[in-house]
């Protein structure tokens, strides 16, 4: 499970790095990244397994966009999406994995 969670986190980090080195992000790029992050977080909500850090990162992304710092806003939105996907992975894994921890 850890591998499955690290991969999207590292992917978000590398994408953020590419963005920094590449041309500046636009508001449209941010809207697209935000939409993907919110969709993933909604899916985590349906599984009753959202993380507080996803919401905090989404808020920070919105604040960066409001300040017209779209590079930062896009990087944060992608991080929020990675966090949301990790929480989905966690919920799906724990549908069965919890049984291994029960006292017997």
């Amino acid at each position: 499970m850890r591998k499955r969670i690290f991969v999207p986190l590292l992917a978000a980090l590398s994408i953020a790095g590419v963005n920094a080195a590449d041309s500046a992000g636009t508001e449209a790029d941010f809207r697209s990244a935000l939409s993907a992050a919110e969709a993933a977080n909604k899916q985590a909500g349906a599984l009753k397994n959202q993380w507080t850090t996803t919401a905090q990162t989404l808020t920070a992304a919105g604040q960066a966009a409001a300040a017209h710092d779209y590079d930062q806003a896009i990087a944060l939105a992608k991080l929020a999406e990675a966090l949301a996907k990790a929480s989905i992975d966690q919920a799906k894994e724990q549908e069965e994995a919890w049984k291994a921890a029960v006292i017997r």
Partner: protein
Amino acid sequence: MRKTLFLALVGFTLAAGGSVRAADTTDPDAEFKVFRDYFTKRFPNVPLNDFVNGPYSMDEGLRKQWEAKEEFPPYEFAVETGKEMFTTPFANGKTYGDCFPNKGIGIRQTYPYFDDKAGKVITLELALNLCREANGEKPYSYIGDEMASLTAYMAFNSRGKPFDIKVPKDPRALAAFENGKAYFYQRRGQLNFSCASCHVQSPGQRIRTEVLAPALGIVAALPIYRSEWGGMGTTSRRFVTCNSQVRGVPLQPQDDLYRDVEYYLSFMSNGLPISGPGARP
């Protein structure tokens, strides 16, 4: 961003800890015995009834501080307020006592129960709000001071009475028990902790400055005055903050799953005395 990523990595690394073996079927009576044996064998010097005192059963220094504090217990005002609320008639002239067996005195130990008509678990907090609504009053917040005061009074006048929780052979009750157990053992939040990570695998150990309470008897002291909160907290508030502390978005207070967890933990505490309201650091 780097800080957030770092914390995510640390959280997963820390929480990748132990497990105890697999379970697949629902047999509450058998699970009760295994659950109790686990704690009594792990802590052979703790008298059975002392488990309800949570961290104080695990740490002698903390216990001495608590005993000194009990001379002027911080929950005393809540008990007095709760008594006044409990005995003051609603606008229609009825009182809370009219909604409960034995006029609501000395009954805390029988909650939660499975209501076969409603097909769900009824906790004491939910029963109090159902009572209010049935008498034309607005429900209280499940994490507010009013609910904490009412339940503090009901716990206080039930002190010493042993938990007496039934899980009938109704498939819906067994499903509620199983759902509560699953929620208790499922890891959640960015820190990847389950309730059991702290209260089964690590009781007696410290997490930051707090001594972790054992799961056995953990609901007996609720509601509690927490110094950390600077006030009283209901069972709902306790569950909500547990989720938040592991960076999980909490469920709504009295969500089906929270009620099922309380049902599971209360059944596992059968025979142990009600000690609430409690005081915790």
